[in-house]
Symmetry: C2
Subunit: 76 residues, 2 copies
């Protein structure tokens, strides 16, 4: 099972979604958590993956936008 | 691990989110998939759980709205 990425920006919506989702995922799945507020150099990578807002979960070119914390444009 | 519910309405956004998410969840988690288009009598239950749009995933009073397929108001 490949690695997934969870992009967030530290907002309360992000943290809540992270806690809900990550606890329920298959323990065999590796998830890299990327804080775009702290790692703005990775915003371009997130956009390329199709991320429009955070929190977002990316796996195998599939993007799940979870609730709505912030637009990725607002993180730039 | 308690049961989760995945509410959808058969739309392409719903099906795509379902395939992405359900494959990655912990195999120990039971997920009831509820098609609100086919079971409109369960719309009230979904709303009570906090579902505003589908697809949505509910677990332990936490709601994750995944991408955006349709507003729950449009399913009534």
């Amino acid at each position: 099972m490949s690695t997934a990425r969870f992009y967030h920006a530290g907002c309360s919506v992000c943290i809540s979604a992270e806690q809900t989702l990550l606890n329920l995922l298959d323990p065999a799945l590796k998830v890299e958590v990327v804080h775009l507020g702290e790692q703005p150099q990775r915003i371009a990578e997130a956009e390329l993956a199709g991320v429009k807002s955070v929190p977002a979960f990316v796996h195998d070119d599939q993007v799940l936008h979870l609730n709505f914390g912030a637009s990725i444009d607002d993180l730039k």
